[in-house]
Symmetry: C2
Subunit: 470 residues, 2 copies
Amino acid sequence: MSYQITDMDVFFNPKSIAIIGASESLKFGHTMTKYLLNSNFKTYPVNINKDTIFGNKVFKSINIIPDDIELAVIVVKNEHVLEVVKDSVKKGVKGIIIESAGFAETGIEKFVKIQDEIETIAKNSNIRIIGPNCVGVTNFDNKFTTAEVDFNQSIEEGVISVIAQSGVLGNIFVEWSTSQKIGFSKTITLGNKVDVDEVDMLEYLEKDANTCVITVYLEGVKRGPKLVEVLRKTTKPILILKNGRSEIGSNAVKSHTGSIAGDDKIYDAIFKQYSGIYRVNNFYEMFNIAQAFATQPLPKGKNIAITTSSGSLGILACDEIEKQGLELAVLNDSTIKEMKSISPNWTSLKNPVDLGPSLFMTFSQSLKAILNDENVDALLHIFAVPQQPIKDFSLPITPHLRDMRNLSTKLKKPVITCVFGSRWITEYFLQHSYKYKIPIMAQISHAIKAFKFMYDFSKSNKYLNKNTEN
Amino acid sequence: MSYQITDMDVFFNPKSIAIIGASESLKFGHTMTKYLLNSNFKTYPVNINKDTIFGNKVFKSINIIPDDIELAVIVVKNEHVLEVVKDSVKKGVKGIIIESAGFAETGIEKFVKIQDEIETIAKNSNIRIIGPNCVGVTNFDNKFTTAEVDFNQSIEEGVISVIAQSGVLGNIFVEWSTSQKIGFSKTITLGNKVDVDEVDMLEYLEKDANTCVITVYLEGVKRGPKLVEVLRKTTKPILILKNGRSEIGSNAVKSHTGSIAGDDKIYDAIFKQYSGIYRVNNFYEMFNIAQAFATQPLPKGKNIAITTSSGSLGILACDEIEKQGLELAVLNDSTIKEMKSISPNWTSLKNPVDLGPSLFMTFSQSLKAILNDENVDALLHIFAVPQQPIKDFSLPITPHLRDMRNLSTKLKKPVITCVFGSRWITEYFLQHSYKYKIPIMAQISHAIKAFKFMYDFSKSNKYLNKNTEN
């Protein structure tokens, strides 16, 4: 049986939704229920034990809802899931998201069997099923969500999409990234994957006009050869985080989503084989690098310039540049001369350009000289200034970010800022960076790795073919 | 010429201080000047061009101050430093901190020569000199500082001390750590090290009653054999961060503090040779691990238990446990039985114990069962719960932290909490963790590495000898 990619649309833009097991009380699904019932999405709560939820009429069964239902979201206890899945099939839904946990991952025969039966239902119908053991999807473009995302807080949409196996982690990804002003287009959690898996979603996101970068959190894979084929075909950059590398870890994978983690060496080989696929070590790294892809032009070469207010952190950046096989840009004499004319005699103006505390007076002109230097392909700006002088003298940061953005766009050279210090200064930068779309990172290694992956992507067939076609 | 270790006391508890080059305007030293002049430390501002600073009478030279001066802090321009050093010698000070930059690190002959002359002065007198190109010291025990530390904000003292080569980074360390509620005893920045170096300070901190953990940020070493001897002798755990590993990086070291980075393999071999010395990869890792040493009992074995609200993060922890050569604790049947009696049927109760959203109801009893299990030597608690349910239901975190602290202290088993999500939840934990002295980390790898280093330290001769003596 062959599915159409548009099958997936029902999960991201359903015309009508039933929440089966909807509840006002403390459990997963609570935030979603409250949000959807107050939204413009046509939502019907279903619960056999309730009459009203948040002031809305409750239906005892999906089958008595006097309307067509496109999407059923299931949050009932594990032992009732099979029954309400069958009800939903009878109702003629197009898609089902099962959020309830307690299936193959328990290792208990009774629950493994229920999951198998649901899998069979999916195979024998045209209905697509996400889950169980997940929090479904969030579409930041139209603000539809089945997860614990609070769109009443200001959440900016972006061009990064996420495929995650884990439900809780999927929510946490979004919370952390939102606080870092990293914007998403779609986030998807897959859980135990009785039907819809990363292959379906990679195909969907490849065609999704709002997605420019794809990030994937994987624990195990069921359709290995198919995944390899899709990874080979996808033309957008893909960042992959794969857990369960160790033996202890892959045992834990089995009790988490019932998946087989597989031999880590095989994954590593597959990820390395295809251009445009990059493996990352943790989710902070994954989203920081995704944000660089999402907001910056690709570097044309591998010569990195560094401006820093801390010599030590400049040295750390040099170590990372060598580790990643990039080069420290050799600045033109004219660039150094231009900076010298405005700098105190104690500043070190070879790359890394250590502006020390003179940063505030010399930054804008130095930045211009450096980015205009044809030996420079990308700039890492390291900002480490104690909070007190910034507060005492109301030192401005916004003009620096604006200048960086303007020059970076004009000259098509990527820039990343790393910020060090107390939470106050990081917050200050994040508030202002978003407007200027400059990635703000706390770790230099993430910034240098981003330059490396972006440089590699610019040289990859996927990128070159696409840009020759245009 | 042999120095006494008590020579160093003048830097941490001076009876009288002259700030030479004191200023109200924007430059390094501003915050220190303002702070010291308003403190109980007897401080005299010296500036040839000023009459008053922050309302205090200014002296044209250190030599006309009508009082003995123990410590001179120099913040004048590089070309005037030699002259005021000579003035300070004439005045009979015991110690000098030169914060001004622009010496050997510039590579300019004139300034290299000035630094050499200062070095000769130090060699031929009993006066000890820190710097140039640094921000001196901060003593959190008596609130004396020559750096940009604002003691008017609530800064808690602790038992971690820092030796850092870099000035700016020294300030930034303190800001970041303070925002993480990590408490310091002494922080020291050494700059170009004409006289006082890490050897002097390691000897000082070994004898300092308030220091329990020593962290060192190194770029280069002048007295290699002497450093090795001191590292061998020191009985306190030492965490070392060494930059300039690569060729590009070690060139940058030379333009930063005029040091020679040296062959990284030699450092690595030396750090590995002596027990109690642990190399770390970045300063977040350094201070997170230091905080674990500072607040937790040492583990008696290497069996780690994990409680988590996210299965994925539990798996990540398993991968790290295997990577570090530790073991995933095998829980007693009675422990699992006790947890089963209070948990929903879908929770996974083998270690890693995945409590999922049932965390709030089951944590306290599960914690008790796990920590009392004789197969468990340490506990990692992973907290990843979306913000919204915590806010909507005012879910309590403090009782968990209090229970963890009480049990950990009673049973002498270390606990660490890793928190994931938005800044809101991290802040919330940090506010409450401090009181209960539970380290809060954002990265699981740091927590597992902390357990590894603490376990190794508990097996080291340094620790065993010290505890046999007692």
